[in-house]
Subunit: 150 residues, 2 copies
DNA sequence: CACCCATTCTTGACTCGTTCCAGAAAGCGC
DNA sequence: GCGCTTTCTGGAACGAGTCAAGAATGGGTG
């Protein structure tokens, strides 16, 4: 995959060693936005079958700390990762199925909002989660329980 | 405590039975805003020493479902509960110590924000979490490691 | 006030996501 | 290629939260 070259530079620029697990995890997260750790482990193993779950956890933490990945964790959900970093975008989350979609931030720069009363806190980020129903779940819940499965 | 009468009505109005664990949990959450489950269990046992942790979990779920409590869960934190419901207020969270403070919503009605591109989602709530450092942690981190303890 | 049934509480085990640990292996700079 | 540092492996451990079955309790009714 040609993107491996880009990932290579990405890692080097962050003073991180270039290892096969890291490249595989980066590839997996890029091709599976908002995937949870388990899905990332499975996706990583498509490229690197023998990688351990601990390696993936460790890589995810290292890449997140380096700012190459962003970890998101809506309430009630396990940790999910996405490769879109730098822009301060937000998310819509489906209450029913947990689907997540990106939402561009109106201003683009963090913190895009400012609390009315910050209680002396030094706020550097405003995280916004829009809760609702995705199109599929919305259609299913508004119908007379004909096609819904419970 | 006189508030027990209010809590009694609160429960009955929600078609919930009035039990000692429920009153004790309500009291505990009201006097410990943003407390996590473990702290609530301990606070509840001050009033009702023999209550089981399962009862508290069950009560918290029942009261949350009934809308008497609100469950909040900032990323990386365990579940926390607060008794302020109805208004759509938000929170500032300290990245360092996890302290939480309420922030009144500018508009007051949910959803107070509307995503620029909602991807077809039926959005009913915009949850905002302001991340930063509380006054104490902010002061500690800006000092030359004299009073900080690590 | 006592009865009865549905609801709720207790006890204990269990799941799942995540982290910790020690040793083996691999990458990077020279 | 060498050596040191970092990373990966494999397994165990941890903690929050959940599940299940039986006992106890609440509260409307007569």
């Amino acid at each position: 995959m040609a993107a491996d070259r880009d990932f290579h530079h990405l890692l080097r620029d962050s003073a991180l060693r270039v290892t096969k697990p890291r490249l595989a995890v980066l590839t997996a997260v890029h091709s599976h936005p908002h995937a949870d750790t388990d899905a990332i482990i499975r996706a990583t193993r498509e490229e690197l079958p023998d990688v351990s779950h601990q390696a993936v956890y460790d890589v995810l933490r290292a890449l997140t700390d380096a700012g190459l990945l962003r970890r998101i964790q809506p309430a009630g959900s396990v940790a999910r990762y996405e490769a879109r970093v730098g822009d301060n975008h937000h998310h819509v989350v489906c209450r029913s199925c947990g689907a997540i979609e990106d939402v561009d931030c109106a201003t683009g720069a963090a913190p895009c909002l400012h609390p009315s009363d910050h209680h002396g806190f030094a706020v550097d980020e405003a995280e916004v989660v829009y809760w609702g129903l995705c199109p599929d779940c919305s259609a299913a819940s508004s119908e007379p329980a004909t096609t819904s499965r419970g």
